[in-house]
Symmetry: C2
Subunit: 666 residues, 2 copies
């Protein structure tokens, strides 16, 4: 058999590694009764969320599978690939969430005795998500490539993955912030109930939301980017180098998995005692080691694999890969600069807060806009350079390069919410000062990695979408789509507009959801006897369910639009105009997503900086203003911004998959 | 002589009409000593602003004229045309400001005795700006077209106009809000000085700012759009129909002037007594009459002129003209829906304010994003339809159609700040309840017309820029600029990024300016003996001068970028990539500008709605939140949003004028 056997072996290795980590986590003690209860409540809520999401997703999938099976050649294999893409992505999300909500209490419990063990559990749980994503993604694509030589089938797999991302990232994003804002509002509307009171059913929904947004949402988003980049590279690879070009991305995926596993294994926390700040930087350094190891390994192994497999002509492809990898790394640095409390932007926002909330908002917005400048230039340079080295395939390879160590990177991203939940448990279960400080230090690292993760998710979405745009040109047989034509200009305008519409609807979804949550909490206090006195328990599950229902409802219109608008434009203005739509959405979506993510992250950290005792500390006027900034920033960074990743990727998928249909009308 | 004689006569007629109105205004009584003092202070401040702006503008112009005279063919005539464009636009701005700051006290004084007369004076003063703009614009272009048959010379005239717009709209926008925010902050930082106290030098700067932003800024912005649309139509007209095609836009301009004068003359306010609301709607109806009359006249006369002049083939051009006119009208309706307190969006923001400032901000932002959807679709449809009827020339003609009645429309836009200042004077000079209510009713209409004016300014900027993009394709001999090429994609990304950079820098300029103003007010209280006790007068002029200096400084970087970036891209990635830059900037700039203008307008009116006694009225929690929304909205709608009009137009001008240079490198 050919080189794909290695890809399958690597994918199975990734899944086995995830299995091993699961086994390791489940073997750890979950702590006392109170901790188990707290963890159980979040887990129960998370499962309620997933159940409701998956029921709707199942209906959606059935409809889409039917449409694809009836309309898109090769029938019904594109439909099957779509189904597999949906299934694997949903499975990765389920496993990741399920481990995260089991690891939280275990991390807290371990933190009583050992700093190193707490870090290890939290990181391992993140790694479960990371390696399930890369393992399932690579496995699915490789198997499809063995059974089907048709490019459309491979692309169908990525399309299926993007549907899950729509549900978990957009729907999940709306849910998360509905629960968060709702929980905050309850304190205001129902006097006498503190914000984080366990009698308040929205409190658990809020914690479920943290896991939904940063684990299931982030995971499904990056799962999509990963398989999109690989599938696009396979298609463009076939165009450039026939079968060899199709196999190369799979080979790179295999190497990336091995590099990531070695990287993850080299994250070996050693027992550590020290000040809070030192714990933070130690934990960060411990995990960063894994990133460095996997990156260096990837560069070396990538060089030999590409030049060995492709011959001397492969050097250009190697450079495209490295450029993508470096672009991702540099965007991480920019994100850190704009969102970390150690640099001028966040300090500027914190200082501005002394002049009231309006100035806080203005400063945050202008910082966010400024922060999009360098990432956009980096992506532009990457695109031009990758094309220079390896043509259209180079762009896809650059996207692959950015995502190649996803196993390791996602482990770090998904580690955050687990540390966050663990810190909450140490507090609620009264585990003492040491355990609490340890978990809070881990959480502080998590905030940084989460901000980096968001910047990375957006940039990789942008690069993957560019690769997918190139794929669209191939699939739709478009050699020219000129902005001298009014159709293309109209397409660009419509695509750009989609970003604003999508964002606006997502943000409206958050406010409607928040009001539903408030009403449900009120209903429970009214109808559950003994709840107010603390004698009865609130119905967490129903609160989660209601917020999920509303989130799914709010997702309906944007979801329909993202699928129908490219089709409508394709049938009326033609395939060139659709290219305009994709490009317009990509351009505005990328800019807005970076701005929203970084403004949100910067407001968050400006608030934390003040809360740490600076500029008057908690309760000062500056703090009040910073809290308002943070509240505006929350749906920015957790709902609207991330939804745009999905918009720009999904709109490209719809165009590619349905291109054969509107080509009939040309 | 040819048909251009009519264009010259119409232009002279417009200027004569403006002269007549000036004479009419200056004949009116200025009221008592106190009123004259108040009006004089604002006038003095306005002149200080213009003096400082014009000194810097003169240096900038000298440099640009030199560059153009040395580099751009036909030498030195493009440089001369540029100089004339700058001169005429600056002259229009000077005359408009000068009348506005003389009409305010006269309007207030007239309001004591007569509702109709007050309206007439304020409207006439706005009309001075309107007819100076169209008269000077048409005169300049027509004379240049007589002496020079070279298209580049006509385009140079528009380039000159856009430099003034950069100074008055971007620099002016930063100045305006620096003064406004600075004046507000003084109250906070210096205890014991109320916000609107006349001892506070920033108070006059704030009032000067209102005139700067809504009269000089708006006027220079629309002057640029007007001459840009005409010049683009002339160039594309030559391509399609040779000399006849060049003359047609001038003929249309002439007809538009006559239609606008008839429209303005049909604004005949009759004496009116009634409730506040009735006064508002009566004043609005009185001025709307002028718009309807001029539009209907234009449609009828336009039909006969075009078909008569161009023969049967002119019908397509007529439709393009009408489509542009209708597009402007519809965008006005959308703007009104999203920013008026009679409709759901503003009411929604007002209601949301009960839940605190964060929700107010979120609701306003999502409304703003939503509000950009229909204008973008309208512009896309207009572009496609105009192209369908009359090719590339059709797009320019649609832009001309939107701006054809500018004389009348600008009169309504510029009427607002005069009514606003007059209302202020009635209060400060204690002119009694009747005069005050009359002026406030006039001011209320002004708020609506100002919001409409902003929407109109943006849409016309977008359409004019599209026409200019078409001109760029002609001038740079580009028949294809395909988004299948990475250079074009990189150009799009860079152009899109420019919008965010420009916005961020403009908003940063506001905060630096505000702090300068605060420091200056502090200095005056420290150094001017007797100021605090009210025995000495503050130095208004120095405060205005300092804020203007800072605004000019803040404008430096964005100004340099907008000129250098297209050149840089042109020299490195080539002329196709520049087309990408223009398109990217146009797309994101248009969307962001609509969002910012409408969010800002909606927050403003939500606050006013609450202040009118709804939802708890002044002093309630909802009101506090709405005030914060309004403060964020101010630089949105008066600085960042309008600056984007300039960005998208100016970047196109730089590309067109310097295209011959980077064509040398292809």
């Amino acid at each position: 058999m050919d080189i794909r056997i290695w890809a399958i072996l690597a994918a199975v290795l990734a899944l086995a590694f995830a299995g091993y980590l699961m086994f390791f986590i489940l073997r750890q003690g979950e702590g006392n009764q109170r901790m188990r209860e707290l963890s159980y409540a979040v887990r129960q809520g998370a499962m309620a969320f997933l159940r409701r999401e998956f029921i709707t997703l199942a209906i959606f999938t059935a409809v889409m599978v039917l449409i694809l099976a009836l309309l898109i050649e090769p029938k019904p294999w594109v439909a099957l690939a779509y189904f597999l893409g949906t299934l694997t992505s949903a499975l990765a999300g389920f496993l990741g969430m399920s481990m995260a909500t089991r690891a939280n209490a275990r991390t807290a419990n371990a933190a009583i005795g050992s700093w190193a063990k707490a870090l290890k559990i939290a990181f391992s749980s993140g790694a479960v998500m990371g390696f399930c994503v890369v393992g399932l993604g690579l496995l699915g694509l490789t198997i499809l490539s063995i059974f089907f030589e048709d490019t459309h089938v491979w692309l169908g797999f990525a399309f299926g993955a993007s549907a899950v991302a729509l549900f978990l990232r957009v729907g999940g994003g709306i849910f998360t912030k509905s629960a968060d804002v709702g929980a905050d509002l309850v304190g205001k509307v129902e006097k006498g109930i503190p914000e984080d009171d366990p009698r308040n059913a929205a409190v658990i929904a809020d914690q479920v939301g943290d896991n939904v947004g940063d684990i299931a949402g982030m995971g499904s988003d990056l799962y999509e980017s990963y398989v999109s980049a690989l599938a696009a590279a396979m298609v463009l690879g076939v165009v450039a180098f026939e079968t060899k070009g199709m196999m190369l991305p799979l080979l790179l995926g295999a190497i990336g998995i091995v590099a990531s596993i070695v990287g993850a294994l080299s994250v070996r926390p050693k027992e550590f005692k020290g000040s809070f700040e030192k714990q933070v930087s130690k934990a960060h350094a411990t995990m960063n080691r894994g990133v460095y190891v996997s990156n260096i390994l990837m560069i070396i192994a990538g060089y030999f694999a590409i030049t060995g497999f492709m011959g001397g002509g492969g050097l250009g492809i190697f450079w495209a890969l490295i450029i993508g990898l470096i672009c991702g790394f540099l965007i991480g640095l920019v994100t850190e600069y704009f969102t970390s409390e150690h640099h001028r932007p966040v300090l500027g926002i914190a200082k501005a807060s002394a002049n009231g909330p309006a100035i806080t908002i203005m400063e945050g917005l202008s910082m966010g806009m400024l922060s999009s400048v360098i990432p956009v230039i980096l992506v532009a340079v990457t695109t031009v350079a990758a094309f220079y080295f390896a043509g259209l395939l180079g762009i896809a390879i650059a996207a692959v390069g950015m995502l190649i160590n996803l196993g390791m990177l996602l482990a770090m991203d998904c580690y955050g919410p687990i540390a966050d939940n663990a810190a909450g448990i140490t507090e609620m279960a009264g585990l003492g000062k040491v355990a609490r400080e340890r978990c809070e230090a881990l959480d502080a690292v998590g905030n940084t990695t989460a901000a980096l993760g968001k910047g990375f998710a957006i940039s990789s979405a942008a690069l993957a979408s560019l690769a997918w745009l190139a794929t669209y040109f191939e699939v739709a047989h478009i050699s020219i789509a000129s902005i001298t034509e009014v159709d293309v200009i109209a397409g660009l305008l419509i695509g750009g507009m989609m970003t604003f519409l999508f964002c606006a609807l997502a943000m409206k979804g958050v406010s409607s959801g928040a009001f539903d949550v408030v009403n449900e909490v009120r209903r429970q206090f009214r109808e559950i006897t003994g709840l107010m006195e603390g004698k009865a328990k609130p119905d967490y599950v129903s609160c989660v369910d209601i917020a999920t229902k509303r989130a799914l409802k709010s997702m309906l219109l944007p979801g329909i639009l993202v699928i129908t608008v490219p089709l409508l434009i394709g049938f009326t203005l033609g395939p060139q105009a659709v290219a305009g739509v994709l490009t317009g959405a990509l351009l505005t979506g990328f800019l807005m997503a970076v701005m929203m993510a970084n403004s949100g992250g910067a407001w968050d950290n400006a608030k934390k900086y003040i809360e740490a005792g600076n500029l008057g500390g908690k309760g000062s006027e500056a703090h009040k203003a910073a809290v308002i900034g943070d509240t505006v920033g929350d749906p920015f960074k957790d709902t609207a911004g991330p939804s745009l990743n999905i918009l720009i990727k999904l709109i490209g998928k719809v165009a590619v998959i349905f291109a054969p249909l509107f080509l009939l009308f040309v």
